[in-house]
């Protein structure tokens, strides 16, 4: 490691760290205000609320009908996880193992939905879904959420599959394994960490995906984040603490999966994996 010992260099290093710490402190404070507010009775013009209570959680649960909303949220999220796993892993296997004409074009096709922001493609997509009477239903939300998650799984899985020596598969073939047996008994066990990591991230993304769900959800297919948006949007109507209690429930329902996912992946990979492979192509 190179060490810079001049005063200027030391000042610069201090300034960089000061900015980083200031940023992180603000992020933590933003999250902390939501939690503190959801636990406080009355909070006006002081550093902390007058007293603490858990009542807001009960009232938020009833007011916003969080039971059914959470149920729908996870129903949608797990359907998206299952379908994007099925579509993504099989396609990733083909992309990793075969070199076929037009492969670069197909790769580009898979990259596009990750590069175009959801709100840009969400509006034409919602139009089409409503035309086919899928808009506003459970399956409309699932289809819309699959658009970025299928390519995401493909891009995360390609390097995982490329790591596996093709000789292992050849050996299984020699001993008479068919494609299905090969997949279940040879490939799956080796791919489990990668599949688990990518699907957990898909779960986090789907629970937190606001734009696509907002554009395609009807009253019975709203996920938690969309309900939260409507609650904040009409915030004059309900107590702030009640909305904050709902926000905390949302936070917990996303962060649990993130924490599990982080056991398998490095945080930089959450944003960078897809883009690095896009660079290579």
């Amino acid at each position: 490691m190179i060490r810079d010992t001049t005063i200027g260099a030391k000042l610069w290093i201090t300034a960089v760290w000061a900015i980083t710490i200031f940023f992180v402190l603000n992020v933590l404070a933003i999250i902390a205000t939501v939690i503190v507010s959801s636990l406080g009775t009355r909070w006006l013009g002081t550093w902390l609320p007058n007293a603490f209570t858990l009542n807001w959680y009960a009232s938020a649960w009833q007011e916003f009908q969080l039971g059914p909303v959470l149920f729908v949220t996870f129903q949608i999220a797990f359907t998206v996880v299952a379908l994007s796993g099925l579509l993504g892993v099989t396609a990733a296997y083909a992309m990793a193992r075969r070199d076929f004409p037009g492969k670069k074009l197909v790769m580009f096709l898979f990259l596009l939905p990750l590069l175009v922001p959801p709100i840009t493609f969400g509006i034409p997509l919602a139009t089409v879904l409503y035309q086919f009477n899928v808009g506003g239903t459970f399956w409309g939300v699932v289809l819309a959420n699959l658009v970025p998650t299928v390519p995401f799984v493909i891009l995360v899985m390609i390097p995982f599959i490329e790591q596996i020596d093709p000789k292992v598969e050849a050996a299984a073939r020699v001993f008479g394994a068919g494609t299905f047996k090969l997949f279940v008994h040879v490939l799956m066990p080796m791919l489990i960490p990668g599949i688990l990591a990518s699907l957990l991230l898909v779960l986090v993304r789907t629970v937190a995906m606001f734009e696509l769900t907002f554009l395609t959800a009807g009253p019975t297919s709203q996920t938690l984040v969309v309900s939260l948006y409507y609650a904040v949007f009409a915030s004059g109507v309900r107590a702030v603490q009640s909305i904050d209690a709902m926000a905390v429930i949302y936070m917990v329902s996303t962060l649990v999966w993130l924490l599990v996912a982080l056991r398998f992946v490095n945080p930089t990979q959450i944003v960078a994996r897809g883009n690095q492979s896009s660079n290579a192509h």
Binding site: A94, P101, Y130, T179, Y229
Partner: protein
């Protein structure tokens, strides 16, 4: 007869297999068809729909309305006024911070903390910031305690609320991308420069920066595209009928308040074109710089 046809089919199969097409290759088809049907088709459909306006005035009526009504065309400027400064600031701060963080052995805690705002999303950040940045919130309170300001700052329901919430959600993304590029550069290159007596600034300017430019261009594009599509925080933290009436608000209003999906599609297409223009400009500028290996070789 039968044997000859079967021979022909095998040879045809073999020819295909030689070009890389066999049963395994076909596994790519379901995903490909899905993306074509649920992503490409809606885009084309939207493009065509935008040329079939509900109102009178020929196929370009939606576009003519957009570019003649200041309430609509000003949304492009309003969005750019948010997205461009946010992107520039994120990239400019991300580079020195990433250069520093790459030297730290235990980056995991910091990167995990930074993933939080990305994972929680803009809606939660907006709700938190309404509390935190409000006149009675901790932010103004702390500054007043330190005697930096006399009265609470007005940071919500205006431009700055949206600006700050974009920074909170976009900077971690830019930083993590930049970090992955910075750590991809062979540290030996910088060491070699240091051995030859280059100062910290010279090492950065003449060794690291040229290698970083392609990655930074990508980071800039992806950050900009995200910032340009700002939606929930512009509604919740900004002044959605005033200075933070961004283009996605105009599109959502056309679709869900006026039920004019042709106009909404037209606005979505305009949004895509503006994003594409900025990305193309950045990529053209990038090509003026050095492109090559980021690892040291024995050349």
């Amino acid at each position: 007869m039968t044997s000859s046809t079967s021979q022909e089919t095998t040879s045809f199969r073999q020819k295909l297999a030689l070009r890389g097409i066999d049963g395994v290759t076909l596994l790519v088809l379901p995903s490909m068809l899905f993306v074509l049907a649920i992503f490409i088709y809606p885009f084309i459909h939207g493009l065509l729909l935008s040329f079939k306006p509900l109102r009178e005035g020929g196929m370009f009526a939606n576009y003519i309305t957009f570019f003649s009504d200041p309430y609509l065309y000003n949304t492009i400027a309003a969005t750019l006024r948010l997205a461009v400064p946010v992107t520039l600031l994120s990239v400019l701060v991300a580079v020195p911070v990433a250069m520093r963080v790459r030297l730290v052995r235990r980056q995991r805690l910091l990167t995990t903390l930074l993933v939080l705002p990305i994972t929680l999303g803009t809606v939660l950040v907006a709700q938190g910031m309404l509390n935190y940045l409000g006149p009675q919130g901790w932010f103004s309170r702390s500054l007043m305690l330190l005697h930096i300001i006399g009265s609470p700052l007005k940071l919500t329901n205006n431009y700055w609320g949206v600006f700050l919430s974009l920074i909170i959600t976009v900077f971690p993304f830019t930083f993590l991308l930049t970090l992955s590029y910075v750590t991809g550069i062979d540290p030996g290159l910088e060491k070699a420069a240091a051995t030859h007596g280059a100062s910290a600034w010279q090492r950065f300017r003449h060794v690291m920066l040229p290698l970083l430019v392609p990655g930074l261009a990508i980071a800039f594009c992806l950050t900009f595209v995200q910032a340009f599509a700002v939606f929930p925080s512009a509604v919740l933290l900004g002044a959605p009928s005033g200075p933070t009436r961004v283009i996605s608000i105009a599109a959502a209003q056309a679709a869900f308040e006026q039920y004019d999906f042709t106009m909404a599609s037209a606005i979505a297409m305009i949004m895509g074109v503006v994003q594409l223009c900025i990305v193309l400009i950045v990529l053209v500028v990038r090509n003026l710089f050095y492109r090559g290996a980021t690892s040291g070789g024995k050349g």
